[in-house]
């Protein structure tokens, strides 16, 4: 892993205008991603973890410009993605691909598998049709599918096989950077293990850079080299895996680790210090630090001002007034 930045995200915001509950005219703002800054380094697996509604998927899609931004910048090897024309952007998408969560809804049920995997080759007019077919067969083998099945439809495959189809599709254009959005969440645990191994094999073979978005801390902890934790549209903590697992400091990160189920009945603890309360709605997040109503360490300042993401040791940043000792 080098320290070259493949992606730079600078103060990125993505807000959605939505109809407020019960109202007909007025709208409110859902701040799905609300000012986040981080880099993705070449060759790393950056895990992004957080609970529903924290904005992790929106962030992944905005980084690939599948969504338009509200504010901020995304640089791909120094080039501003949102400054690109449509034609230029089409070229860029060859380098950046996505693997989706649901292998049922992300594959067109009316297209044969060869067509689904080869579609991007068609769009970019790469090679002759014979060459494209060869490439599709090669890709199917690479992800562990029998190329003989290329004329089948998605419904003829199991969930795990469908996820392999989605992975083959994302590899077709030989990308450099792949966003895996809950890529194993819908799978049974034995199949999930197969797909995690496949993603790691592919990364080694092609030196991909992954952004691996998931809600499951166990999965993120296993696959990632660096981990970013999100809560209600913001980054609360980011560090290398070792550092984050062993020396996390943000109260929300602590809450996530405490809440994760034990791996053996021998590790059961009575009276765990669980954090109470629900994840608030991102439409009207709490003032100040969004986590303060659930945070046992919150002080007066946390209710009024959102803490900046600050480096607390080399490569390890957290957004918490208490941790930063600035109260």
């Amino acid at each position: 892993m080098s320290n070259d930045k493949i992606i730079e995200v600078k103060d990125l915001k993505k807000h959605f205008r939505i109809k407020s509950e019960g109202a007909t005219e007025s709208t409110s703002l859902l701040k799905a991603v609300d000012g986040i800054t981080f880099d993705v380094l070449e060759g790393e697996i950056l895990g992004v973890v957080g609970e529903s509604g924290c904005g992790k998927s929106t962030m992944g899609k905005t980084v690939l410009r599948l969504y338009d931004k509200t504010e901020g910048e995304v640089l791909y090897r120094g080039e501003d993605l949102f400054a690109k024309s449509e034609v230029q952007m089409k070229e860029m998408t060859r380098k950046m691909q996505m693997i989706f969560q649901d292998p049922y809804s992300s594959l067109n049920p009316r297209k044969k598998v060869a067509k689904i995997i080869g579609q991007s080759l068609d769009i970019h007019k790469i090679g002759t049709s014979a060459e494209r077919l060869d490439r599709v067969k090669y890709l199917m083998e690479e992800v562990g599918l029998n190329p003989k099945f290329r004329s089948r439809y998605p419904h003829q495959f199991s969930g795990g096989q469908r996820q392999r189809i989605g992975i083959a599709r994302s590899l077709a254009l030989q990308p450099e950077f792949i966003v895996c959005d809950e890529a194993v969440s819908a799978l049974d645990v034995s199949v999930q293990a197969q797909i995690l191994n496949l993603l790691l094999d592919l990364q080694e073979r092609h030196s991909f850079t992954y952004m691996f978005i998931a809600h499951d801390l166990g999965v993120v902890e296993f696959i990632s080299t660096r981990i970013l934790v999100m809560y209600l549209g913001r980054i609360v903590e980011i560090a290398t895996k070792e550092e984050l697992v062993n020396r996390h400091v943000h109260p929300y990160t602590k809450a996530l680790f405490i809440a994760s189920p034990v791996v053996s009945p021998r590790d059961r603890k009575e009276g765990k210090h669980l954090f109470q309360g629900d994840v608030p709605s991102p439409i009207n997040p709490p003032s100040g630090c969004h986590f303060h109503p659930r945070c046992p360490y919150a002080v007066e300042k946390c209710k009024h001002a959102y803490p900046p993401l600050k480096e607390i040791s080399p490569g390890h940043s957290a957004a918490c007034w208490v941790v930063q000792n600035d109260i």
């Binding site: 049974d188 645990v189 999930q192 902890e221 994760s260 189920p261 109470q276 629900d278």
Partner: protein, 337 residues
């Protein structure tokens, strides 16, 4: 606590349950026997299609029949075979002694009635109570399941509650009986975020301290098993393949599938610093074409010729531990420390 001295609350004996489909007969549950003792938490664990939910739903006859049918077997609850009961009799049991909580509380609750009135309904149907008394009981139960501001919350509609609160309301409803003997929890935390899941599991553990009830917990998640189970039944493609106390399942597994499930978990401590998981190859067999042999044979690294011919008989490892595998002795038990 010595589980062996406890009375059996529910026993399923040699249950065979199948569904008639257009493509043929699916044998969803085969020769299944399980016992739940008073006060214990038994978890049924397995992946999609292993028959764990069908088993749970067979107890209070919630499987659609037809296309489902019981081919043979008994389900004995407190001395009565539930499969011989009339519809009205089983309905009476559902609200009084056997309750159920589901994976998705939003679809399990009626969206057009307040949660309080839905709980009050349970009292009104099964117990002699006035409406006001029933509502007061509902508030009491909301307090028991730690819903903040219960007096106000009973008047909420399901959509006005968060996922975690809805699941608490479901649990409150399950407790709305004079003696909740058995609570069947079908993937109760699967749809919830991890911090909320932890709260709900904590609540269930807490309730068990105060209320004498047994829990039949259906889950695919070994983490939930590790947190909750007294005893564990591992199912695969309709069959029970291993049964043991929770500690033995995690630290001394004897079935290749149980071992495979544990090895599939990225959080398994053996993977500290590792870059690959020991995954189980292949996929679950099609229940339509499955033969008489061990259903796991096609994915099993220990399989021998015998495995595809016959399903193994029970081997008793210890008083609290049994396995159904021809080659269990060959299974390398890489116990997790």
């Amino acid at each position: 606590m010595n589980q062996h001295e406890k009375e059996t609350l529910l026993s399923i004996e040699d249950l065979n349950f199948s569904f008639t489909t257009q493509r043929g007969i699916v044998r969803a549950v085969r020769d299944l026997s399980i016992n739940i003792k008073k006060g214990e938490t038994l978890t049924l664990v397995g992946e999609s299609g292993c028959g764990k939910s069908v088993t749970a739903h067979a107890i209070n006859q919630l499987n659609p029949m037809p296309p489902g049918h019981v081919d043979s077997g008994k389900i004995v609850f407190n001395g009565t075979d539930l499969l011989t009961l009339k519809k009205s009799e089983i309905e009476a049991l559902r609200g009084t002694q056997i309750s159920m909580i589901f994976q998705e509380p939003m679809t399990a609750l009626n969206p057009v009635f307040t949660v309080g009135s839905q709980i009050a309904d349970v009292f009104l149907t099964h117990q002699d109570m006035t409406k006001q008394e029933a509502m007061e009981k509902a508030v009491e139960l909301f307090r028991l399941v730690k819903i903040p501001a219960p007096e106000r919350r009973v008047h909420s509609y399901p959509h006005q509650l968060s996922g975690g609160m809805r699941q608490r309301a479901m649990i409150a409803m399950a407790l709305a009986s004079p003696n909740p003997g058995l609570m069947i929890a079908d993937e109760p935390t699967t749809a919830l975020d991890v911090t909320i899941q932890a709260q709900i599991l904590d609540l269930l553990q807490d309730l068990k301290q105060h209320i004498e009830m047994s829990i039949l917990l259906i889950t695919h998640d070994m983490g939930v098993v590790a947190e909750m189970a007294d005893r564990v039944v591992v199912m695969y493609a309709g069959r029970k393949v291993e049964e043991a106390d929770a500690d033995s399942i995690f630290h001394n597994p004897h079935h290749p599938y149980t071992l495979g499930l544990l090895n599939s978990l990225p959080s398994n401590k053996k993977y500290k610093g590792a870059r690959r998981l020991e995954a189980i190859d292949g996929t679950v067999p099609d229940l339509l074409t499955i033969g008489e042999g061990c259903p796991f044979a096609n994915r099993c690294v220990y399989q021998t010729g015998e495995c595809s011919r016959s399903f193994p008989k029970e081997t008793i490892i210890s008083e609290s531990h049994s396995v159904w595998c021809h080659n269990y002795q060959a299974v390398k038990t890489e116990n997790r420390q």
